[in-house]
Assembly symmetry: C2
Homo-oligomer: 226 residues x 2
């Protein structure tokens, strides 16, 4: 098999690509990378897999590519499959792209900062999280979630219109992440809540498979706060 995906299911864009490849029926070899063990930080990983030292990364024959959204677009050109999830129609594709580009400095940035500060740093240091920073990032994260409803889901069931696309997969994988800390991204947001449930169902069973570890951590967080 020529296509290899290097991923960790606790990385949002890794999960998105993992789901995408499967719903598109693109054959690939699973190459898990344990971020928690720092496997991506080794000199070997840098030399043999990716100079970026991050996941996801693909190797397609001799071609290496990082950045999940660049990978999504490359696969849409290179692999033979139905394009219903990354539409060929130019305007529709542009709307998917508009979301995917918007996401970086919104839900991706603030979801990640919140998650790192509240969950990863305490795990690494054994110290309680910086409450002031957590509160600041939570405020920004909440604004991003409201923007998602307001800018993308106000008058249509999916981000790019009447049909689910890759934009919904990438968005949902970001939104699931802070749940690991006990945060509920859809509380008080009926539009987002309805959309998230529909996305989960649309990409079943791959969606659940990709979120299996995450959902165990969520259950643990929820049990601890009870």
């Amino acid at each position: 098999m020529s296509l290899k995906l290097y991923y960790d299911l606790l990385s949002q864009p890794s999960r998105a690509l993992y789901i995408y490849l499967q719903v598109c029926k693109i054959p690939f070899e699973k190459c898990p990378v344990a971020l928690r063990k720092g496997e991506h930080l080794s000199e070997e990983f840098k030399k043999d897999i990716s100079r970026f030292q991050k996941v996801p990364v693909i190797k397609d024959g001799g071609f290496t590519l990082a950045e999940s959204i660049a990978i999504l677009r490359y696969l849409s050109r290179e692999k033979q499959f139905s394009n219903e999830w990354y539409p060929k129609d130019s305007k529709l594709q542009a709307q998917v792209d508009e979301y995917l580009e918007w996401q970086h400095n919104n839900i991706r940035t603030f979801g990640t900062l919140y998650f790192r500060t509240k969950w990863i740093q305490p795990l690494l240091t054994g110290e309680p999280p910086n409450a002031k920073k957590v509160a600041t990032y939570e405020k920004h994260l909440a604004e991003c979630l409201s923007s998602m409803e307001e800018l993308f889901l106000k008058d249509k069931p999916f981000i790019a219109g009447d049909k689910a696309t890759a934009a919904d997969i990438w968005a949902a994988c970001e939104i699931e992440q802070p749940r690991i800390t006990g945060f509920d991204p859809v509380a008080g947001r009926p539009v987002l809540s309805k959309w998230l449930n529909t996305v989960r169902k649309t990409f079943s069973p791959y969606y659940e498979e990709a979120h299996l570890i995450l959902n165990k951590l969520v259950a643990k967080a929820n049990a601890e706060t009870k």
Copy 2:
């Protein structure tokens, strides 16, 4: 003319698109938006131009699109022009995309945070900048500039190889921005310095035209620090 570009030449992605449209000889109507006057924040702008209330935005007939990189890709499909700046070759295009996606949470994020904290906030509030924050963002910005050299320019003259592409335009426009504060992004970075000069020449005279106001502000900042 059916294509309208809404832009402010003090916005990095606005400059990138402004240059790109001109080097590609795509006819467009110039619709400047004065961010400093808050023109993008009006209810009119939100209703008639873009719900995102940011620039750049295009209107192509009845179709509105935000996010400069989504716009770049849309134009590459929709408009008839030579594609040398956004290559049709799939692997080359993937490398351009890899940079454009990487950029968001690196040079774009930290260049913007540095610029806002050191220049925009003092301008708006009349207060001196928060020195601790400026120092933190400057450190991150410096790391991003080193990463640009290390990850993208170590063994090739341009980001995607031997030829300049849209990735170089977008990158250069980001790197120019903090110069307004008196910061020199290429000091002690011979690789980046050589590359930036080549990009400026490659996209002349449109590059200079797009950076005219910026360069006046840079001259002012440099005169003040002497």
